[in-house]
Amino acid sequence: MVDIGTVEVIPPAEVDDVELYHPKSWVTKYVFCQDAKVIAIQYSLTAISIGLVALVLSWLIRLQLAFPDTFSFITPSNYYQFITMHGMIMVIYLLTALFLGGFGNYLIPLMVGARDMVFPYVNMLSYWVYLLAVLVLVASFFAPGGPTGAGWTLYPPQAILAGTPGQDLGIILMLMSLILFIIGFTMGGLNYVVTVLQGRTRGMTMMRLPLTVWGIFTATVLALLAFPALFVASVMMLLDRVLGTSFFMPSIVQAGEHLKYGGGSPILFQHLFWFFGHPEVYIVALPAFGIVSDLISTHARKNIFGYRMMVWAIVAIAVLSFIVWGHHMYISGMNPPFGFFFATSTLVIAIPTAIKVYNWVLTLWRADIHLTVPMLFALGFIVTFVNGGITGLFLGNVIVDVPLSATMFVVAHFHMVMGIAPILVVFGGIYHWYPKITGRMLNEKLGQFHFWVTFLGAYLIYFPMHYLGFIGVPRRYYELGETAFVPPSAATLNVFITAAALIVGAAQMVFLFNLIWSLSKGKLAGSNPWRATTLEWQTPQTPPGHGNWGKELPMVYRWAYDYSVPGAKQDFLPQNQPPAEAHQAALP
């Protein structure tokens, strides 16, 4: 500790007004707005809306699996279209956009003490290009032939050949939408990274950043470098489909007819796709890691355990995530030494992730745990992430992956680890920051109902699914039919899972209702209802006004986790509280 008696307070810096963008009309204030907070809301609402479409698709998938031969409107083609769009929307258009475009835009400028992003105009464009990408995606539902049914991985050659649903326009719109998404994301991502680098207020060193910012920052760097692989793959496949090149297309004889393609390599696509695809897991996970660290520390009234280790682990995970993509391709006929390499690098990732889990648990140890709704979701995340991560250790080994790869076990694994776990953090984050965004608390009772149904329901869905995978129930199948190796009880279990899925989905409507209802009826929150230390809770206005701060930018004196500091007058010390002030009142 520094000697608190002698520290003088450095006056906060004033910033000239001219750099700031000022909305002049309703349109520039709420529609074409350059304020990161408004862009964040736009991103979030768009992502949640398209996410609801994916939720409904998952219901349809589950209905078909539980009750085959019942629904005339779910044909095999529809089924493949549903699983494709469900996966693509959830992974890219919901989770990536919500964590980086939503949470990133809202929290980065506020948490680092900036007035806005560094390139507000580009930031605004980012949202509109994202919206365009979503609209193109939605358009594919209405295109002749429907959306693509190639599976969310879009593996060639089948993705663009006749016989795959949506081969006409669906796949073209899908690829165009992805290309647009990546362009839009790149615009936003440049902002998030440069704002963290250059927009920090005085005193806010990198090692004083809240872990939320570290998580979003690192995930954005990861995304900026990984998305080009998907971009390249999408452009090349689009050329294959539209202009007839053969980047990914080998010579093919279809129905006795030799197609125009020849000389391409489908495996090349898999390499490019997974070079993006694996970092994508961490693009979603790292912001979740960061947010969860802050939720736990705040709601347990205790400083985060091992802050430095948490930062280093985030960086280590980011680096490692680029050398593990091959574990998605064990069954592609890979050279055995490569399999050994990828299995090793995959298992090594367990070390930094385990460090994070232990640090969360140690933060909770002997802490003053408040079981608020955000805390419930954070705790739910830790358990779920450990569960999903452990099955990842199984699947990371070639010899275990090969028999399980095409089964429901994999579906259960990745839904736990990168579906349920991050979405629990999304919910926790929304319950936590909603008071800052709207000035009102979300309803606590409804929130608890939402948590317990979602959390327990998710386990009722995915635990049995692991078992289905073990007994060999294949994934991707429209219906099982008569098989010798699948016992009839699998069908009963499928009905059970579907019932749970319908209930969990319905519980999300309660959440949506809560979001809307609390907007006008929620309890007034005040400026800092959770008594948190980070800068976004110290704004002069709630919700924060345009420019975030008053005339002066805040001055940061400490890290983000000064909870329950011995001798301090409050059980939390905001980051912008000078040391002298923090201790004065505590003296008798």
Binding site: V118, L197, T201, M207, V232, G244, T245, S246, V556, Y557
Partner: protein, 235 residues
């Protein structure tokens, strides 16, 4: 994927260096008190933004080249001939980049005439390069190496096309810089714009030299002897 790995290794080295400057071994819980500044560098945000953008564009090209070399390593590979015109185009791009460098030097010395001449020359040579690339496409096409002939031809059109599009985007920025230079915007502002353009141009020149050197010189890319296949075997 060797080329993208080399590229990412270079980036990782830069990031590691930067992190080492951020006192990541600090113990922030022991260090309450004022801390001078935020540790943000004095480099303008636009320049850092451009640097980051170049890293992304670099990753894009590294991936394209990686895909090219992987496909080449998978056998049944027939290279497309590189039109002689590409040498002239390369010269035009070098001149364009050089002219921008000249403009940048002039901007530092506040010589507005030299600056404007440099910008114009650079823009003109960039247009020559783009036109030359289009002619090269037509020559290849006329020689029977059309887009869908084989993967080598497709890669040639794709990589040159993506590179050309990036230069086209650069020309938009160059146009806006010219507008500033002629309108008489504050020298500081013009100087930054010219500098950003120059960095972008040099980068695209470097990318082009890589593409040209690694991919289009047919003796290098011969199935057994070329640099790319050597790299393929090493990694």
């Amino acid at each position: 994927m060797n080329i993208i790995f080399l590229f990412l290794a270079v980036l990782a080295a830069i990031v590691a260096w930067w992190l080492s400057q951020q006192r990541i071994t600090a113990k922030p819980w022991l260090e309450a008190g004022p801390s001078g500044d935020a540790g943000a560098s004095s480099i303008p945000a636009a320049k850092i933004g451009l640097g980051l953008f170049l890293a992304i564009v670099g990753a894009l090209f590294a991936l394209l080249l990686s895909a090219y070399s992987m496909r080449m390593g998978m056998g049944e590979w027939r290279t497309a001939p590189a039109p002689k015109l590409l040498w002239l185009n390369t010269a035009a791009l070098i001149l364009s980049s050089g002219a921008l460098q000249w403009a940048q030097v002039a901007a530092r010395g506040r010589k507005m005439d030299g600056l404007r001449a440099g910008l114009l020359t650079s823009g003109a040579f960039a247009l020559v390069f783009l036109a030359g690339q289009l002619v090269a496409w037509r020559q290849l096409d006329a020689a029977g190496y059309y887009l869908t002939l084989n993967p080598a031809a497709a890669f040639f059109y794709l990589i040159t096309g993506v590179h050309g599009l990036h230069l086209l985007g650069g020309l938009v920025a160059l146009g806006r810089t010219m507008e500033k230079a002629w309108r008489g915007a504050p020298v500081r502002e013009v100087r930054l714009s010219v500098e950003l353009c120059a960095i972008y141009w040099h980068f695209l020149l470097l990318v082009w030299l890589f593409c040209f050197g690694l991919l289009l010189l047919s003796d290098w890319t011969a199935p057994d002897g070329g640099l790319v296949s050597v790299l393929c075997r090493v990694f």
